[in-house]
């Protein structure tokens, strides 16, 4: 420890803010917290475990089935975990922002990046890209882990077919979008517990409540609302759609309710989910700019 003023090298003199620098900073922040790695590991492990579980339950001979049914089973097995791993993606999305508000770290962030929004956009980019990567690792490992079981049932692995690889990749994209949606909730609420509750309520509890209500009332408008919820719309991103055939959800949930007027395909589901994100993110960004940190 010295008592003299700091000698600063010439490199410090060139220092300045830039979008790339801020992106790098947010990547350092994301990878230097244990919670990030816990969430990533859980997503991969749960995806593989649920894939194995469903694969083990297959009791039909795939070789006698039409190609579309085999493809449907393959997609279902590889992406079944998404229904659960989405919740972990949501938790991570909330933590990335609420964790900073909760600990006071946000003050360091906004002191270094006083215009604030570049830091927020950098967080979103880093979060979304990492979630896509983690999601891809998860489905790749799930595919590898279940390949032997599936081929034992005579189910082919036509990964080259767009109807097969698109929902598998789509599950990784879905995780990223859910994380971004949860980030918006976290930015609005700022409190970790509250934001996680709100995000899980939106993704998991609301659909259950609506399903109960639909069972009781058989109301078409409730079916339409249900189909437009983030998790239901987003499920179309990782659902197998037989070319020209009916749409089936993960795990072979069967055709989408025929009585609903709203029937989304993968792109429609993507559009609805992105709309949800924009509706929540826009006020979040305004508040981040305006509120005292």
């Amino acid at each position: 420890m010295t008592t003299t003023a700091p000698p600063a090298g010439p490199a410090v003199g060139d220092a300045r803010l830039s979008a790339l620098h801020v992106l790098r900073s947010e990547w350092i922040k994301l990878r230097t917290l244990r919670s990030t790695w816990w969430c990533a590991a859980l997503i991969v492990v749960l995806s593989v475990l649920f894939g194995l579980l469903i694969a083990a339950f297959i009791n039909r001979d795939g070789s006698t089935l039409p190609t579309a049914a085999q493809d449907g089973d393959l997609v279902a097995v590889v992406t079944i975990g998404t229904s659960f791993t989405q919740l972990i993606a949501a938790v991570l999305g909330v933590l990335v922002i609420s964790g900073e508000y909760g600990t006071g770290m946000i003050r360091s962030t906004f002191t270094a990046v006083p215009n604030r929004l570049p830091a927020v956009f950098a967080k979103l980019v880093v979060l979304a890209v990492s979630m896509v990567v983690v999601g891809l690792v998860a489905v790749a490992l799930t595919f590898a882990a279940t390949a032997a079981i599936l081929s034992g049932h005579g189910i082919g692995a036509r990964l080259g077919d767009a109807a097969v690889w698109m929902p598998i990749v789509g599950s990784a994209v879905y995780l990223a979008l859910v994380a971004v949606l949860a980030f918006a909730v976290g930015a609005l609420v700022r409190n970790t517990a509250g934001a996680i509750s709100a995000a899980i309520g939106l993704l998991l509890v609301l659909p259950i409540l609506l399903t109960v209500a639909i069972g009781l009332t058989q109301a078409t408008w409730l079916l339409n609302v249900n189909a437009l919820l983030p998790s239901a719309a987003g499920a179309q991103l990782h659902a197998y759609a037989a070319p020209g055939g009916t749409v089936t959800g993960p795990g072979g949930r069967g055709p989408v309710q025929a009585t609903a007027d709203v029937v989304l395909n993968g792109w429609g589901g993507l559009g609805v989910l992105v709309a949800w994100i924009l509706v929540l993110l826009a006020p979040a960004l305004v508040l981040i700019r305006r509120r005292d940190a």
């Binding site: 420890m1 010295t2 008592t3 003299t4 003023a5 700091p6 000698p7 600063a8 090298g9 490199a11 410090v12 003199g13 060139d14 220092a15 300045r16 803010l17 830039s18 620098h21 801020v22 790098r24 900073s25 947010e26 350092i28 922040k29 230097t32 917290l33 244990r34 919670s35 964790g99 900073e100 600990t103 006071g104 770290m105 946000i106 003050r107 360091s108 906004f110 002191t111 270094a112 990046v113 006083p114 215009n115 830091a119 305006r290 005292d292 940190a293």
Partner: protein, 305 residues
């Protein structure tokens, strides 16, 4: 240089910072004094844009903080509230902040060494003591080798060695021509560190002057007198503008007369003097005199508010 122009912050109907104007000059240590709740931290947070002023502006080196191309090169700030994620190590926290400006890793290692944190650089901040947390905050403030330093209660939680180190560091930074703006509730520390004082009470500036002027202006000279015949001395010295108190040890404290006047009066009245001592006003007294009407949280005896 920091220029505060009619800076005001209100929370609802409570005014935390009330029309504050001041210029914090480079090349000296400016102390920022005031009771708890006087608005010191809020003022400092407004300077770096964490809090949005209700009215007025704060300029650093001629611009609003957020308008600078490299804010960390202009201002290094240590906030009173913790501003670190406890799950991250000290080195990673510094690397993350440094990365926003492309400040190289070598500089991170430099400030870790400078603040005495090299040995604990890879320890999680959540395990840090208050003093280590303060050192990390100072390390962050120094990261960009800034022209202006804003330190909110920097010696809070530091051991005596650390207090001394902060004093030397801030003096050295000011001697290099940097602006150093330092808040502290430790009057004695401020007396040894600051050249200039801005005193805040209930959000308003009570004094903005060199430290000696604040002391001289806020307190009257007191002369301590010891005599075997206090009653006669009392009569001899009494006059307009002179106040005399008796202390517990039997001495007199005379306010409003110089030691020379008292000595002459005693000689004329034939009163023996055993002691005649001008008592220098301390910064502590000056501060208490200035802020006595402006304490936000004063103990109320027996009363429940």
């Amino acid at each position: 240089m920091i220029r505060l122009e009619r800076l005001t912050k209100r929370y609802g109907d409570k005014t935390a910072v009330d029309d504050v104007s001041a210029v914090i000059e480079p090349g000296r240590v400016t102390g920022f004094l005031g009771p708890n709740g006087a608005g010191k931290s809020t003022t400092m947070r407004m300077i770096v844009g964490l809090d949005r002023p209700t009215a007025g502006t704060a300029l650093v080196n001629g611009k609003r903080y957020a308008e600078h191309r490299a804010p960390l090169r202009e201002v290094g700030v240590l906030l009173e509230a913790r501003a670190v994620h406890p799950g991250r190590t000290a080195a990673n926290h510094l690397l993350a902040v440094a990365a926003t400006h492309g400040i190289p890793r070598t500089r991170v290692e430099e400030v870790l060494g400078l603040t005495g944190l090299s040995a604990v650089a890879n320890k999680r901040v959540g395990k840090f003591s208050l003093g280590m947390g303060q050192r990390l905050g100072i390390a962050v403030a120094l990261l960009g080798d800034p022209r202006t330093l804003i330190l909110d209660e920097p010696v809070n939680g530091l051991d005596p060695e650390g207090v001394l180190w902060v004093r030397h560091l801030t003096r050295a930074l000011a001697a290099e021509g940097r602006t150093v703006f330092l808040s502290s509730h430790l009057m004695s520390e401020m007396a040894q560190t600051a050249d200039h004082l801005v005193v805040l009470g209930r959000g308003r500036v009570l004094a903005d002057a060199p430290i000696a002027d604040v002391v001289a202006g806020a307190t009257q000279g007191v002369v301590r007198v010891l005599t075997p015949d206090p009653d006669r001395l009392d009569q001899a010295v009494a006059g307009t503008g002179v106040t005399i108190r008796r202390t517990d040890d039997g001495a007199l404290e005379v306010i409003g007369a110089t030691a020379a006047q008292i000595g002459n009066a005693a000689l004329a009245a034939g009163v023996a003097l055993h002691e005649l001592t001008p008592v220098n006003a301390s910064l502590e007294e000056a501060y208490l005199t200035l802020t006595q009407d402006d304490v936000e949280y004063r103990e109320t005896q027996g009363a429940v508010r």
